[in-house]
């Protein structure tokens, strides 16, 4: 059980860590001062959540590691984040679409986790869910504004939806870890979140005049670490460079 819980906590923390890092790449580059600051705020929220999830994960593991060790000293195959979140930013449309797909899922998951049988999980979820609700409000609004915007913004958003759609299914694909968590009342079965997520996504897509692809194909391998995309290694090389070059460096 404790290994299952450890894996689950890594999934939560790696999701927020990887997405937080990706969004932080926009710092000083976003299409407008207001968006730049909003994206940085979102990234900081996610990094804060990462500290809580990975901090608890390190305690559960009981091997003397810290949240920092887990963030900076694990390699690609040890990461448990959803594949969608490690995808490159590409353009603002892809970034916002990825954010919306995840935020809609994240809010549902954290809402349910507030009732977790594990007190620490419930506590972290309660703190995180307020931030996630705000993230979702922003990303949903932007999807609608850009999808229902100019010809170019519409076309960019549609191409982002088409490209990211095959990565959305992994959020709801339950495996042994998910089943063990559900059985212990620690976390909901992710598949049980799908219908409500789909409702929200359908509504926003309609307002944004965007079309979801028909295909139900879903890339997998992120949550298990079995097969990450080629993007994660490059990201970690940048993110972990300092700790790798100067082990134990502090400031």
């Amino acid at each position: 059980m404790s290994d299952g819980l450890f894996q689950f906590l890594l999934r939560m923390g790696d999701n927020t860590l990887v997405l937080g890092h990706r969004i932080s790449e926009w710092c000083g580059q976003a299409p407008g001062l207001e968006e730049d600051i909003a994206l940085a705020n979102t990234a900081l929220d996610l990094i804060g959540q990462t500290q809580m999830w990975l901090g608890y994960a390190a305690e559960v593991e009981g091997a003397g590691r810290t949240a920092d060790d887990l963030a900076f000293l694990r390699d690609v195959w040890d990461f448990r984040n959803l594949l969608m979140l490690e995808r490159p930013n590409l353009d603002f449309g892809h970034t916002i679409t990825r954010q919306f797909f995840f935020d809609a899922f994240h809010v549902l998951l954290l809402t349910r986790l507030q009732a977790s049988s594990d007190a620490r999980v419930a506590e972290i979820a309660a703190k995180s869910v307020k931030e996630a609700a705000y993230h979702l409000e922003r990303s949903a609004d932007l999807v609608i504004a850009l999808g229902d915007g100019t010809d170019e913004s519409h076309q960019r958003m549609q191409s982002a939806v088409d490209l990211l759609w095959p990565f959305a299914g992994e959020m709801f694909a339950a495996d042994d870890v998910d089943n063990a968590m559900a059985a212990a009342g620690i976390a909901p079965d992710p598949a049980s979140l799908r219908a409500e997520w789909q409702r929200k996504v359908d509504q926003v897509m309609a307002d944004a005049t965007l079309t979801l692809p028909e295909s139900q194909f879903a890339h997998q391998g992120g949550k298990t670490g079995r097969q990450h995309t080629e993007h994660l290694g490059h990201m970690l090389a940048q993110m972990q460079w300092l700790q790798r070059a100067y082990p134990g460096a502090t400031w």
């Binding site: 000083g28 976003a30 299409p31 407008g32 001062l33 207001e34 730049d36 600051i37 909003a38 705020n41 409000e137 922003r138 609004d141 504004a145």
Partner: protein, 96 residues
């Protein structure tokens, strides 16, 4: 980093947690009032709980012109009889 010309300018007024009144804190660009509110929260409040934000499209604000300063504000200064400073306040009234 450029704002599309069609994004209007909004002036932002914020009342802090223990503030009594809204104060002008700056401006920003946004497509509509809702977006302006969200942007104001990110740019000017740093997520402080319990603040109140007003956004007003800059075009809606009429400002006094610097050239009008004299006619608008000076008459009172030169007319001491307009200032109620010549009354003896009875002690039992206390400060007013």
């Amino acid at each position: 980093m450029s704002n599309a010309p069609e994004l209007p300018l909004w002036e932002v007024f914020i009342r802090g947690q223990h503030g009594l009144s809204h104060r002008h804190v700056g401006s920003l660009h946004a497509a509509d009032a809702e977006a302006a509110l969200k942007n104001a929260r990110d740019v000017y409040t740093r997520r402080n709980e319990g603040v109140s934000i007003w956004v007003v499209e800059a075009a809606q604000i009429t400002a006094s012109a610097p050239g009008d300063k004299g006619p608008l504000f000076e008459p009172a200064n030169s007319k001491v009889y307009r200032h109620p400073t010549f009354f003896d306040i009875p002690d039992e009234i206390g400060s007013m």
